[in-house]
Assembly symmetry: C2
Homo-oligomer: 234 residues x 2
Amino acid sequence: MSRRPQSAASGVDLREKLIAAGLDPNLAKMLDEMPAKFVHSEPRKPFREEGANRDEVMFVRSGLLCKYKSDSSGRRQIVALRFPGEGILPRDGRADYGIQAILRSEVKVGRAQDFGPIVDANPSLQRFFWKLIQRNEAIGYEWLVNCGRRDSTARVAHLLCETQLRMHSGQSRLTNPFTQQQIADITGQTSVNVNRVFADLERQGLIKRRGREIQIPDPAEFRRVANFQPSYLR
Amino acid sequence: MSRRPQSAASGVDLREKLIAAGLDPNLAKMLDEMPAKFVHSEPRKPFREEGANRDEVMFVRSGLLCKYKSDSSGRRQIVALRFPGEGILPRDGRADYGIQAILRSEVKVGRAQDFGPIVDANPSLQRFFWKLIQRNEAIGYEWLVNCGRRDSTARVAHLLCETQLRMHSGQSRLTNPFTQQQIADITGQTSVNVNRVFADLERQGLIKRRGREIQIPDPAEFRRVANFQPSYLR
DNA sequence: CGGTTGTTTGAACTGATTCAATCTGTGTGG
DNA sequence: CCACACAGATTGAATCAGTTCAAACAACCG
C-alpha cells in the first residue's frame, strides 16, 4: 500500500503486461513511472463501492477484477471484466458501478490528477486509450447481444471463449476463473441454471472438466455453439 | 448530400443541440465548421452495415439512430441509441455493429481525418468527448442490468424512462419513437411479449396510450416499477 | 383500392427460475 | 490426522415467464 514511483520487480511486470496489451514500450514506461500505489484486492471483499467517487486510474497487474451493478431487489449484474494489463480509467463524479475482485488481484492505483496531465501531453498515449475504450465498448455490445439474444448454453460458452482469449490461454484449454454464481451474474441467469448448462456441455462432449480446469476437445465446434466471433476483441 | 462547411439554417440547429448536450458554444462552433455533409437516413433502410469501415464522425441533428448487432441465427439486438445532439465517434478499422435509423434522421457526417486534428488541438473538446464516452459507457452498463436482471415489464418501463429523459420530454408524457419490435430488439424479448407488457402497464394504470403518445399519470410510481435511477444519465 | 407495416390476441409449449436439500472440496485449528 | 466450518457445486420438483406459431386486425400511404 506504500506510495512509490516504481518498484523494481513489480513495475517491470506490469509494464510488460501493458506492452502485451498493445502499448508502446516508451509510453508504458511513462505510465509505469506515474506515482501510484499497489493495492491487493481479495475476492468476496468489497474493493470499490457503487456510487463512490472514482478519481483514480487502475491497472490490473495480476488477478481479475469486475465492475458490477445491483438492481433494486439486490440482484447483481457484472457489467465488465478487467484482466491483467487492462485498466479502469477515472471518471469525474460518482461512478454508478462497484468494483470487486474475482481472483486475488494486485492493482496499481494512481490519482486522476497525476494521470490526466500525462495523457494530455502524449497524443500517442491518448490514441492508445482511445483504442482501449473502443475495445471495451465493443465488448460491452457483445455482452448485450449475449444477454439479450442467445440461449443460456451459448451465453456461458461465449463467456468462456472470451475469457480464454483475454487470458491468453490456448484454444483447447482454459482455467475457469469464475464461480458458477459469477458466471450467472455475467450472463444474466441463476447459478442453478449455469450448473445445468455446464453439465449439458460436458454431456455433449463439448468440454471436459477437472475442477476449474476445462478442456475443449473441438475448439471450432465450441465456438460455433458459443456463436463466438473473436473479431470484436480486435 | 452536398459537401459544405456550414449551411446557415441547419448548422445553427445542430450547434444548439450540441450546446444543449453540454458543449461549450465556442467548441460547438468549431465542430459545426468542420467540413461535413448532411445525410438523411430512412427507417428500415440500411444506413451503415455491420463490419464496414467506420472512419466517420456522425452527429444526429434530428430523428433517432440505433447501433445494432445480429447473432448467427439472425436475431437482432440494438446495442445503443443516438438522440439528436448525440454522436458516433470514428473507430479505426471495421466496426462490429451496424447503424440504422429508428426515425427519419438528419445526420452530419464528417471524416475522421478532419475530426481527429480538431479534437487533438483542443483539450477542452477532448474532455467533452471523454465525458460523452463515459456517459455512453454508463448507459451500456445500465442496459446490461436491464437485459440481465430485470423482468420484462421493468425492462420496457426502464427504456421508456430513459427515452423520455434523452428526448427531453416532460415526466408525465412521452412520444414513443419505437415500434414494439424495436423495443423487443433493445430489451431482448419478442415483440409479442412487448405487446403484452404494454397491455399490462395500461391495465395497471401506469400508462395511457393514444397511438404512439404515452401519458404517465404517476411518474414516481412508474419509475419505481421501472427501477429507474436517472443518475447514470448524469 | 391494394399493399405494407405494425399491433393485438389465443393456445401450446419450453427454457429458466425458485426453493430446498444434499454433496464435495478445501482450509483451519486442535 | 481428524473434526469442523464454509464456499461452492449438484440435484429434484414445482412453477412461471416468456417464446413460438398462427391468425386477425388496424393504420397508413401512394
